[in-house]
């Protein structure tokens, strides 16, 4: 039998039971649509979260005081932990592949200007903070490259603070009181929006040494180090560890590489996408059972036709191929309809709720269609084998 004839014959039985074929195909279509819809949302979420986390760059290492063990408790509570100092941060500049270093101390304080007061996040940073965290100055300039321990009292405003305290005026050159001290405004940051609940625009940036004084802290909360993309993460980590251990006498700090954090996060999100896809897979399985049912019925109904085909010289393999072909045709067409349905619903949801991230990778679509055909094949095997093994004489005389 030629392949086009196989297609033609299977299509003819498919078409002669239109409603039944449609309903059976619908079972698969709903399954595939569920898989596509759920994985699209899962994958959209995946990309959204990763984008949130990687917007500060991926060649970033955070250094935090205290050594975190796998149990999560800080050794510093038992032994001695030296605070991370601004000098520690400056010492890291000796490393060859380090690009930017920004110390960081963050807290909450009252700021006041022109008679208006606001509680806001005060972030003590170094002059390289914009480069290190990929943030940009909108007007004016960022903190100057002063002696880090004796930086002048300059402040750079987040976009929202500027709106709240200096609406309609040029804030550059004005004074802002931060926790009782006067700072001169020298720049305004570009709006950045919220990142995981922190409003980066509702923040003012002052030199790290002054923030430590303001919050009465002995050390930094974190040092951000960026390195050249060409450098190996392990090499950078070893360099940082070497310098800081030499300075502190022991490894009483923790390195948090963004790259590894993203890897872990990415694999967690992959598992989530896979899990929701598997949930959709259950309905696909139900669709497969539908095909099994219909094919079993078809073999029973068309028993005498199977006998006829055998009398006309059809081999067992040909009968098998006809029924398998029918099962696969049902599932393949159902799968295609499901793909269209799933992508359609996903895109529709995205239009209705633009905040809902949706993404359907081509690979998922191809895999979904392949699994639909595989399910059709699997569901068709048992009925098709039964059809092929029917005794021709008995089959011919079945009614």
């Amino acid at each position: 039998m030629l392949f086009p004839d196989l297609i033609r014959l299977t299509t003819s039985s498919f078409l002669s039971y239109r409603v039944r074929s449609f309903l059976t195909g619908l079972g698969i279509a709903v399954g595939i649509a569920a898989v596509i819809l759920l994985t699209s949302i899962g994958e959209g979420l995946h990309q959204f979260v990763l984008a949130e986390f990687s917007q500060f760059g991926t060649n970033l290492i955070g250094i935090q005081p205290g050594k975190k063990q796998t149990h999560g408790a800080s050794v510093g509570m038992l032994g001695s932990v030296r605070p991370l100092s601004i000098e520690d941060a400056e010492a890291l500049r000796r490393l060859p592949y380090v690009e930017y270093i920004s110390p960081s101390v963050t807290g909450n304080a009252k700021v006041r200007a022109g008679g208006k007061t606001r509680r806001t996040i005060v972030s003590g940073v170094g002059p390289e903070m914009p480069q290190a965290l990929r943030m940009y100055v909108q007007t004016g300039s960022f903190l100057p490259d002063d002696d880090p321990t004796q930086a002048r009292a300059f402040v750079v405003l987040g976009a929202k603070i500027r709106q709240e305290l200096f609406a309609g005026q040029n804030p550059l050159g004005s004074y802002l009181r931060v926790g009782g001290q006067r700072y001169r405004v020298i720049g305004v940051m570009e709006p950045k929006g919220q990142v995981l609940g922190f409003d980066l625009d509702d923040t003012v940036y002052i030199p790290a040494a002054r923030a430590m004084e303001l919050f009465n802290r002995a050390g930094l909360m974190e040092i951000h180090v960026t390195y050249r993309p060409s450098a190996e993460l392990e090499q950078v980590e070893a360099g940082i560890r070497g310098i800081l251990t030499a300075r502190h006498g022991s490894e009483d700090f923790t390195l948090v590489p963004q790259e590894k954090a993203l890897e872990v996060l990415g694999s967690v999100l992959d598992v989530i996408t896979f899990a929701v896809g598997a949930l959709g897979g259950i309905s696909l399985l139900v669709g497969g059972v539908g095909i099994l049912t219909i094919m079993t019925m078809a073999v029973t109904e068309r028993t005498s036709e199977i006998g006829l085909l055998r009398a006309l010289g059809a081999r067992e393999r040909q009968v098998l191929a006809l029924f398998l072909g029918e099962a696969m045709l049902l599932s393949a067409l159902g799968g295609l309809a499901g793909l269209a349905l799933g992508v359609g619903i996903a895109q529709g949801l995205h239009l209705l709720f633009p905040a809902l991230p949706v993404h359907t990778p081509w690979l998922f679509a191809v895999l979904a269609e392949l699994s639909a055909v595989t399910i059709g094949l699997a569901a068709g095997v048992a009925p098709a084998m039964r059809a092929a093994r029917l005794d021709p004489v008995e089959a011919l005389h079945a009614e």
């Binding site: 039998m1 004839d5 009398a311 081999r315």
Partner: protein
């Protein structure tokens, strides 16, 4: 052409062995016109199925065209059926969802014959059996006589050497039945071996050789001289 020697066929019904055929010896030459007559349950259909390689004897040997076909695999039997045997049934056995032309084409499709060749053969068969204007009708749109003509056209589409007809007129009125028998008998003139199973003496009596069966055994044979 067809040589059966000591062929028996028994079935297991419940825990009993029922012999449908008992020690059949039958030789049929190429181009013969044979009718097998007997009451129902006499084993005549079983004999026809055996000759058509749809069934296997429990014992004995069956030689077709000089070769022993008793021991062929299912695959090989299907090939012999496809190439040498045509079937015509009482209930026509047309595929209801296929048109007349597609029903006739079916054996050619199963044999893997090219579409161009099929088209020529099917057009010729439709014309031979006066079905050209019915080519695109489905079986439920055809009369009984037309359906059996489609079935005969289908049975001959592979140019078989043997044509097996099981009660071919059983579902037809007398006039149509006669017409169908005439069509089958025309094939004998083209050197096709025709074997007709029937319980109707009027149909069976038309054959040159008339084999009688009772209880799975051949009880007698009557002949009509070729010149008569």
């Amino acid at each position: 052409m067809i040589e059966l020697s000591q062929v028996s066929r028994s079935f297991t019904v419940g825990d009993q062995q029922v012999a449908a055929l008992r020690g059949i010896d039958l030789n049929i030459a190429a181009g013969d016109y044979v009718s097998i007559m007997g009451p129902s349950g006499s084993g005549k259909s079983t004999l026809l199925n055996l000759i058509g390689l749809l069934d296997r004897p429990s014992s004995g040997t069956y030689r077709l065209d000089g070769g022993d076909v008793t021991a062929l695999t299912d695959e090989q039997q299907a090939k012999v059926r496809s190439e040498k045997v045509g079937f015509v049934f009482q209930a026509f056995h047309l595929v209801p969802r296929l048109t007349a032309a597609m029903n006739i084409e079916l054996p050619l499709v199963l044999a893997g014959i090219s579409p161009a060749e099929r088209k020529i053969r099917v057009a010729q068969l439709l014309e031979n059996y006066g079905l050209t204007d019915r080519a695109d009708h489905r079986p439920d749109q055809l009369s009984g006589g037309q359906r059996q003509r489609v079935a005969i056209a289908r049975a001959t589409s592979m140019h078989p050497a043997v044509l097996l007809a099981d009660e071919p007129t059983g579902n037809l009125d007398q006039a149509t039945g006669k017409e169908v028998m005439n069509l089958l008998e025309q094939l004998v003139a083209q050197q096709v071996t025709l074997i007709v199973v029937t319980h109707d003496p009027a149909i069976g009596g038309r054959a040159k050789r008339q084999v009688r069966m009772v209880d799975g055994q051949i009880t007698g044979e009557a002949g009509r001289s070729a010149g008569a």
